[in-house]
């Protein structure tokens, strides 16, 4: 995957981290905190986003394949947010509903939206929207 997918309009920051081993999980966490900081998320919400991104990176790493975590600013109307994404081709043909239930169970309330986009090469997307309670 050369670029992230999104149902929303994307905007900076646009960052990506190649995840090849468990050390890279720390880089994902750190990069997510920085991306969330650039968008104006509070430290507590940065911690939530970093935990979500690291958890996604860990899950995908368990497949044994190197992959990329994409971090993008997204915009929907007047709302801005941070999207965390990773392509997950091994989920092709798996019930999207089952994947989403499993992800929601793992992620709890860390993010506002969890989506699975695409059928042949699905991409997991997680989004947290910025609002007054979540900004610095």
């Amino acid at each position: 995957m050369s670029e992230a997918k999104s149902p929303y309009k994307m905007r900076p920051p646009i960052l990506q981290v190649r995840v090849e081993d468990s050390m890279d999980i720390m880089i994902v966490r750190d990069t997510t905190r920085r991306a969330a900081g650039l968008l104006g998320f509070s430290p507590a919400h940065r911690a939530q986003l970093a935990s979500a991104a690291a958890t996604l990176a860990e899950l995908v790493l368990k497949t044994g394949e190197a992959h990329t975590i994409f971090l993008n600013g997204v915009v929907s109307g007047m709302q801005a947010g941070l999207q965390i994404a990773s392509e997950t081709p091994w989920l092709a043909g798996v019930s999207a509903n089952n994947v989403l239930v499993a992800l929601r169970s793992k992620m709890g309330d860390l993010v506002d939206e969890i989506r699975l986009m695409g059928e042949e090469s699905p991409t997991i997307l997680m989004i947290m929207w910025l609002n007054d309670d979540r900004s610095l």
Binding site: M26, G37, P43, A50, S51, M107, L110
Partner: protein, 124 residues
């Protein structure tokens, strides 16, 4: 006069490292080695910030954070939790107890801690 931070950390080695980080940016640091001591210290002489380990003997960091946030004498004090457990459930538990940040003890911990202190207004 430098602001004072109360560090609640049972590992003396880790306490020394975190104390050094905080002192390097001009903060004074008091250390409590368990939860009850930390609560007493925070209540008797409220610091500008509490840096709280999650895994503590007697009373864990979540319980300490909850009690700090329920006590009118300490509820205004920002709390930053430092942890070896940064999974989604633990992260949400810490933040729901009122922590202002939840930072994993990894190679970026010092940097994230200092950045958070700046954003909380503890550091300029």
């Amino acid at each position: 006069m430098a602001l004072e931070v109360l560090l609640v950390e049972d590992s003396r080695t880790q306490a020394a490292q975190i104390k050094e980080t905080l002192e390097s940016v001009g903060l004074r640091v008091r250390v409590a080695y368990d939860g009850p001591d930390g609560l007493r210290e925070a209540s008797e002489n409220p610091p500008a910030l509490v840096v709280l380990d999650v895994k503590l003997p007697t009373m864990d960091g979540f319980q300490v954070c909850r009690r700090l946030k329920r006590n009118p004498a300490t509820q205004h004090i920002p709390v930053v939790m430092l942890t070896e457990k940064a999974d989604p459930k633990s992260t949400m538990s810490g933040l729901r107890e009122g922590a202002d940040d939840y930072i994993p003890k990894d190679i970026f911990a010092s940097e994230h801690l200092i950045q958070t202190l700046q954003e909380l207004g503890i550091l300029e």
